[in-house]
């Protein structure tokens, strides 16, 4: 019997879990995937938006601005890489210039601090690789970049350290009430809870329906990306957006917190909620879009491409409401959902309280995660100490990113630790570099085998079914 049961371990579910875990409560997160951050949160732009995009008065506008304000502090607290690099929306003709002015006004109304429209010379001195026929740009110094899955993992881990239970491979199929209690049916049995939160991303419409809440329709919208080698990592420093169209924010060019450059996304509607494959047409589209604005986007330096799916709905705004007494929807959380997640969490908690959930602050809430630094990020003193305690820090496994065996063991042993090759990759970047795991994958598997005490044949690349080895040689 749980006080609160959260459905979905994406950034939203994890942020809510962590926010609630500050209190004396019995909390569970049920997740259909095998790890945190298996949905939209895994593949998006990782931009902490300033908050000028969303229309005045929407939940998106309000929560975006608040979320952006909270991000840096939260990342510090949880030791997640974040960079306040600022963003530019660039205009190349009069029409686009008008749009920039519209965005500026909207941003002011939404309460975005320090917005500014800047002219060609200033733009080019900031970002010399922007095409020089640029006219003006909206400069938002409060925008930032974050590693989205690392953020979700950090929130999840920290919630776990503070007592939240995570139940993976657990898909909710039905919800009903037995007297005052929610009965949540899953493939792993029925869970009882006093309160339920719907943070099920692309399936949040189905869960809302189960809770007899608002009926809306999902418009799954794929977005494709290309990630580039660090060799061209200094092409741009800020996130460069074209002026938006009715289709969305357009193809951006941005650095990542780890020093790569990436481009994308496009916006393709599809029926399938789970098909995150890329298409040649899409890759060409984003390439064209990026090259229109920035010089030096060279396909020879692509190290991988991938796609994510937005939980876009016909409502056009986040759906954060009360579908039934005791439940809260955090549904249809499309962009800027990553940015807004910390603010969504605050709002969801207050909606739960409105319905009678009593919060008693924990005496020993642990706000910081421990032991999160990678060897390569340590200073000399820290390196010395780490090596004394654990010689495994002296063995580099991922040579592209200089990730050591100590880092990998740590990623496996941490709360909600990695159980797959991709899980290791998401937590400590082994296999994220230009060789994409070609060299380190066998070694990562060896470490997983030893640490988890499972046969190597049962180690997956990603979720169940993505086995790597088919048996022993003869």
């Amino acid at each position: 019997m749980y006080d609160v049961l959260i459905i979905g371990a994406g950034i939203v579910g994890c942020a809510i879990a962590r926010e609630l875990s500050k209190n004396e409560l019995n909390i569970a997160v049920v997740e259909k995937g095998y790890d945190v951050s298996c949905g939209s949160t895994k593949a998006n732009s990782g931009i902490v938006h300033a908050g000028y995009d969303a229309h005045e008065g929407t939940l998106k506008a309000k929560l975006n601005v608040r979320g952006c304000e909270m991000y840096e502090g939260l990342c510090k607290e949880l030791d997640v890489p974040y960079k306040n690099n600022g963003s530019l929306v660039v205009a190349f003709n009069e029409e686009e210039q008008k749009e920039v002015e519209v965005l500026y006004k909207r941003g002011i109304t939404n309460g975005v601090p320090n917005l500014k429209i800047i002219e060609k010379n200033e733009i080019l001195s900031m970002e010399p690789n922007i095409k020089d026929n640029v006219i003006c740009a909206l400069y938002a110094p409060t925008a930032g970049i974050v590693s989205p899955f690392e953020m979700a993992i950090a929130l999840g881990e920290n919630a776990c350290e503070n007592g939240v239970e995570f139940i993976f491979n657990c898909e909710v199929s039905n919800i009903y009430k037995d007297k005052d209690k929610f009965m949540v049916e899953t493939n792993r049995g029925i869970f009882e809870a006093n309160y339920v939160v719907n943070a099920a991303g692309i399936n949040s419409d189905k869960i809302s329906k189960m809770l007899s809440g608002r009926i809306f329709s999902m418009i799954p919208t794929r977005g494709e990306y290309c990630l580039f080698d660090k060799i061209i990592g200094d092409l741009v420093e800020k996130t460069i957006f074209p002026t938006p169209t009715e289709k969305g924010k357009g193809i951006l060019v941005s650095p990542t917190v780890h020093g790569n450059i990436f481009i994308g996304p496009n916006a393709i509607y599809q029926e399938d909620r789970e098909d995150t494959s890329t298409y040649i047409e899409g890759i060409n589209e984003i390439l064209y879009g990026a090259q229109k604005n920035v010089n030096g986007i060279d396909m020879r330096y692509v190290i991988t491409s991938f796609a994510g799916i937005r939980s876009k709905t016909n409502v056009g705004d986040f759906i954060i409401d009360i579908p039934q007494r005791g439940a809260v929807n955090a549904a249809g959380i499309e962009s800027p959902g990553l940015t807004s997640a910390p603010a969504i969490a605050e709002m969801v908690v207050s909606l739960l309280c409105d319905q009678g959930l009593v919060l008693r602050k924990k005496k020993y809430f642990k706000a910081n995660r421990s032991n999160t630094k990678k060897f390569i990020e340590m200073n000399d003193e820290e390196k010395k100490k780490a090596l004394e305690q654990n010689p495994l820090y002296g063995r580099i496994i991922c040579r592209c990113e200089h990730i050591t065996e100590g880092d990998i063991v740590n990623a496996i042993r941490r709360p909600l630790g990695a159980i797959s090759v991709d899980g290791v990759k998401k937590r400590v970047r082994a296999g994220m570099g230009r060789c994409q795991g070609g060299f380190c994958m066998p070694r990562v598997m060896e470490i997983l085998e030893r640490e988890l005490n499972i046969d190597r044949k049962n180690i997956n690349k990603d979720g169940p079914g993505s086995y790597i080895l088919t048996g022993r040689t003869k």
């Binding site: 899409g282 190290i303 491409s305 010395k384 010689p391 495994l392 070609g438 997956n460 993505s466 086995y467």
Partner: protein, 421 residues
């Protein structure tokens, strides 16, 4: 302590260079290898075909490597295993990481870079589709199968007809997998002719030229690939697309010299080879830093690696003893018609012992040609070739006596058609 020569990498290149440095009077030679064993990529190449030129016999990779490892031990050359160099600089300071001692700093009078190369991956090809498991570089699959004893799949498609791909097609067949086909984007193979015969023809594995993979299918494990023929600009032809069911895709799509350390030390790199620019002594453009083997350019025969590495080791010893002369009598080499690159890039005839062996790759398949070496329009030497292909490295030897007589100007390498034949 200041070392005489530190060799970074313990593959065939590093081993040969270290031995040769020692033989030529460098006292204190150290090899640093990040793996648990010496031998480099040869450790996983358990097929034979190594050493035909150097030893006049057919050895397996580990056998070939062992001959050098034994010699390293006989000469009491120091080596550190499980130790990765993470930084070098122009002044020949080395920073390495090792489990026992943590971060160590080493100063060396000369450095030989022999870090080898790595394989190009799916990301570099940007093949669209899903991202399931079951996609391996051929070398990674080789490691699993030959060193760790695990099979990686049952129904296999190989993309790329490079040597590693060909050898793995045979290896997987012998292990009971069904290798459905090998696809090659180009109209010719980039592998050795003998490997095509011994690995594909002997096992009835079809090789399709002008073909590529255009899409990956399967959300968890690979379920198949869509393949297509490509046109003369190497663009896939839509009408020729077809689905091939498989659970494994092996990529053998090229090797890239591993020059992160070199780049960080600001040692100039040749854009075509992706390796450092070197001279007749295998010295890079930074004094006292030498390079050889696959880190300089990708070799198809390890014998050539050994040959080149001996020069590097010998030169490093000479440098330490102050015997490597420096003057401006340097010639640049240049590949023109048909020749993609030439190594070494610069020649100082005064440092040449007897002759220079120039290594080069052509940019296409040519039949009946002269491989011609020129200086100031004058022909220095020419070699007749019945066929040259990008898959097989060519070499031309030029004597010191000839090089000494050259005037200013580049040494040009070019292909010339043989007429009236």
């Amino acid at each position: 302590m200041i070392r005489d020569v530190v060799v970074i990498g313990g593959g065939p290149a590093g081993l040969a260079a270290a031995i040769e440095a020692k033989k030529n009077g460098a006292e204190d030679v150290l090899i640093i290898e990040r793996d648990k064993r010496l031998g480099g990529i040869l450790q996983q190449c358990i097929h034979n075909g190594f050493g035909l030129h150097i030893f006049k016999e057919q050895l397996t990779g580990p056998e070939y490597a062992n001959r050098f490892i034994d010699e390293v031990k006989n000469y009491k050359i120091d080596y550190m295993l499980d130790t990765m160099v993470i930084k070098i600089d122009k002044d020949r300071n080395i920073i390495a990481l090792t489990p026992n001692d943590g971060i160590i700093n080493i100063k060396s009078k000369a450095i030989v870079l022999t870090m080898g190369c790595r394989e190009r991956t799916r990301g570099a090809l940007n093949i669209p589709g899903n991202r399931p498991s079951g996609i391996f570089t051929a070398g990674a699959a080789q490691r699993f199968i030959n060193m760790e004893g695990y099979m990686v799949g049952k129904k296999v498609v190989v993309l790329g007809s490079g040597d590693i791909g060909l050898i793995m097609a045979r290896r997987m067949t012998l292990e009971g997998a069904e290798v459905k086909m090998v696809l090659e984007l180009m109209p010719y193979s980039t592998g050795l002719k003998r490997n095509i015969a011994q690995c594909l023809h002997d096992f009835d594995i079809p090789l399709y030229f002008n073909h590529t993979v255009v899409r990956i299918h399967g959300r968890k494990r690979l379920e198949g690939v869509t393949i297509a023929e490509v046109d003369s600009e190497r663009k896939p032809i839509k009408e020729t697309e077809r689905f091939v069911e498989c659970d494994t895709l092996l990529l053998s799509v090229g090797l890239i010299p591993e020059n992160e350390l070199t780049r960080e030390a600001n040692i100039p790199i040749d854009n075509i080879t992706s390796g450092p620019i070197v001279d007749e002594s295998m010295q890079t453009m930074v004094e006292g830093i030498f390079a050889c083997g696959n880190v300089v350019h990708v070799h198809d025969l390890v014998d050539y690696v050994t040959f080149e590495s001996r020069i590097a080791g010998r030169s490093a010893a000479k440098f330490v003893k102050g015997q490597l002369s420096f003057n401006d009598k340097s010639f640049k080499t240049k590949g023109t018609y048909g020749i993609r690159y030439v190594v070494p890039h610069r020649i100082d005839p005064l440092n040449v012992d007897d002759s220079v062996n120039f290594f080069m790759r052509v940019d296409n398949v040519y039949k009946n040609v002269y491989l011609t070496v020129k200086n100031n329009g004058q022909i220095i030497t020419k070699v007749r070739k019945a066929i040259v292909t990008p898959g097989e490295m060519e070499s031309v030897v030029v004597k010191r006596s000839i090089l000494e007589k050259l005037n200013k100007g580049d040494i040009e390498f070019t292909l010339e058609e043989i007429k009236n034949d």
